[in-house]
C-alpha cells in the first residue's frame, strides 16, 4: 500500500483519469499515479475500492477511496479550495455542472461510434459528433474558457477527451479544426496550460492505442 497521501489508480490513456490529474495539478497538489493494467488484470486495490464499477480513476485520500471523475473533482475542489475550479455564484455552478454532465453523457460515446465502427464510418455518427461539438461551441461563445475568463471545471472535464479526437478524425475522415474552429482554438488554449500539457498524451500515441484496440476487438 502506497505511503503517499494522494493516490490515483490510473491509466495513461483514460480521459477520466486525466481529468483528475489536471485538477490536482491546478491545485498544486503532489500525488502518486499507480498505473492499472486494464487488459492484463485489474489490481486488488482497484476491485476493492470500486466494487460497483471496477473502473479507473479511483482517487484515494489517506486511503479513503472516491470513484467517478466528476465526483472526484468536486471533492478535490471542496477539500482544497484554492484556486477554485467552480465559479462562486450558484447559477454559474449549476451551468458548469450542466455542461460537465452533458459532456459526460455525449462526447466519449460519440467518439466511440466513430472509432469503433467497422468498415465505413456511418454518416450519422460523424454528424452527431460534429453537432455535439457545435453545441459546446455555442456554450463557449466568445469566452476563452467555458465559465468566463478562467480555466475551470468544464474545461477540465472536456479537454482530456480531445486527446482522442485525432484518432476520431483519422478514422472518420474529417477535422475538428475545419468543422468547429472556435472549439479547436479553445483546445489549443487549454493544451498550452502546464497542468494540462503534463497530463494529456500526444494524440498520435492515443491513435496508436486506438488502432491496437481495434485489432484486439477484431474491428481491423
Amino acid at each position: 500500500m502506497s505511503k503517499a497521501k494522494l493516490v490515483i489508480l490510473d491509466c495513461w490513456v483514460s480521459p477520466f483519469c486525466m481529468r483528475v490529474k489536471i485538477a490536482l495539478n491546478e491545485k498544486g497538489l503532489e500525488y502518486e499515479a499507480q498505473a492499472e493494467d486494464l487488459f492484463g488484470g485489474k489490481s486488488e486495490l482497484l476491485l476493492s475500492s470500486n466494487p460497483i464499477y471496477k473502473k479507473v480513476p479511483v482517487f484515494l485520500h489517506d486511503g479513503k477511496p472516491l470513484c467517478e471523475s466528476i465526483i472526484i473533482i468536486n471533492y478535490i475542489d471542496e477539500t482544497w479550495s484554492s484556486p477554485p475550479l467552480l465559479p462562486p455564484c450558484s447559477y454559474g455552478r449549476a451551468q458548469a455542472r450542466f455542461w460537465a454532465d452533458f459532456i459526460d453523457k455525449k462526447v466519449f460515446d460519440a467518439c466511440g461510434n466513430i472509432w469503433r465502427s467497422k468498415g465505413e464510418v456511418p454518416v450519422e455518427a460523424k454528424k452527431e459528433f460534429i453537432e455535439i461539438l457545435k453545441q459546446l461551441e455555442e456554450a463557449l461563445g466568445d469566452k476563452d474558457y467555458f465559465i468566463g475568463t478562467t480555466f475551470g471545471f468544464v474545461d477540465i472535464i472536456l479537454i482530456p477527451l480531445t486527446s482522442w479526437f485525432f484518432a476520431v478524425e483519422k478514422i472518420g475522415g474529417f477535422t475538428v479544426e475545419a468543422e468547429c474552429p472556435k472549439f479547436s482554438n479553445w483546445m489549443k488554449r487549454c493544451l498550452q496550460r502546464e497542468s494540462v500539457a503534463k497530463v494529456v498524451p500526444p494524440p498520435e500515441k492515443v491513435y496508436e492505442f486506438v488502432l491496437m484496440f481495434r485489432k484486439m476487438q477484431g474491428i481491423d
Binding site: 472516491l66 465526483i71 472526484i72 471533492y75 450558484s90 455542472r97 453545441q135
Partner: protein, 234 residues
C-alpha cells in the same frame, strides 16, 4: 416566505420533477407549479428553456432556467441555506458518497427500471427484473453505510440520496405490480422497505408522491407512447 420568482416546469408523474418539489418543500420554498403534458407535443416554454434535452423538470429562479434534477437539487441546497434542512452533507467525503449513490440511482438503477417498464419481450423483462433486484440489494448495502443506523440515507433528515431514490417509489410500486413482484422486498431489502415507509410518510414528501393507481394508468399510456416511438416506421 413566498417566492414569486420560483417556478417548476414539470409533471405530476415524473420522479425527476418530484425530486425538485420535495427539495423545495424541505426548504419551505413556495413555487409556481407549471404542468407539462407528457402525452402531448412539447410546449414552447419547455423547448425554449431546455433546448439541449427538451425534458422536464426545468427549474426557474428569477427567470433563469436550470435543468437536470440532481443539478437543480444542488442549486436549491446552495441558495436556500438553513442548516436544519441541508440536502447534501457538509463534509466533502460524505458529499462525494451521496453524489456517488445518487448517480448510481440515475445511471444504473433507473435505466433498469425503465427497461422493465417498457420491455417488449418476456426475455427483456426477465433480464431487466434481475438487474432491478440486484440494484435494490446494492442500495440496501449503501443504506447501511450511509444511514449509520438512522432512518434515512441522509441520517436523521432526508438527504440527496433519499430524494434521488425515494422519488422513484411510486413507479417502483407500479412496475412491481405489473410484474407481479415486490421489487423492494422484505426478504432481500428489509431496511429499504422500512426506509420507503418513513420517506413516503414525511411531511415534505407525502403530497408529492402520486396516487399509485393514477400512476399505473398513466404508465400504460406512457409505455404505449414509448413503444410506438421505438417501432420501425416501414
Amino acid at each position: 416566505m413566498a417566492e414569486s420568482n420560483v417556478k417548476v416546469l414539470g409533471t405530476w408523474a415524473s420522479p425527476f420533477v418530484m425530486r425538485v418539489k420535495i427539495a423545495l418543500h424541505l426548504k419551505s420554498v413556495l413555487y409556481e407549479d407549471v404542468e407539462e403534458d407528457l402525452l402531448a407535443p412539447k410546449s414552447e416554454l419547455l423547448l425554449k428553456s431546455n433546448p439541449v434535452y427538451k425534458k422536464i423538470p426545468v427549474f426557474f429562479h428569477a427567470h433563469s432556467p436550470i435543468c437536470e434534477s440532481l443539478i437543480i437539487l444542488q442549486y436549491i441546497d446552495e441558495v436556500w441555506t438553513t442548516s436544519a434542512s441541508s440536502i447534501l452533507p457538509s463534509d466533502p467525503y460524505e458529499r462525494s458518497q451521496s453524489r456517488f449513490w445518487a448517480a448510481y440511482v440515475d445511471d444504473k438503477f433507473f435505466p433498469a427500471l425503465r427497461r422493465l417498464l417498457i420491455g417488449a419481450t418476456e426475455e427483456d423483462k426477465k433480464a431487466a427484473l434481475a438487474e432491478v433486484v440486484e440494484g435494490t440489494v446494492v442500495l440496501e448495502g449503501a443504506f447501511g453505510e450511509l444511514s449509520k443506523g438512522k432512518a434515512f440515507f441522509g441520517g436523521d433528515n432526508i438527504g440527496f440520496v433519499d430524494i434521488a431514490l425515494g422519488s422513484l417509489l411510486g413507479w417502483i410500486e407500479v412496475i412491481g405490480k405489473q410484474c407481479e413482484t415486490k421489487l423492494v422486498s422484505e426478504a432481500k431489502t428489509p431496511r429499504l422497505v422500512q426506509w420507503a415507509d418513513c420517506f413516503s410518510a414525511h411531511e415534505a414528501v407525502k403530497d408529492v408522491l402520486p396516487d399509485v393507481d393514477k400512476l399505473a394508468d398513466f404508465g400504460l399510456k406512457l409505455r404505449a407512447k414509448i413503444l410506438k416511438g421505438l417501432a420501425p416506421t416501414n
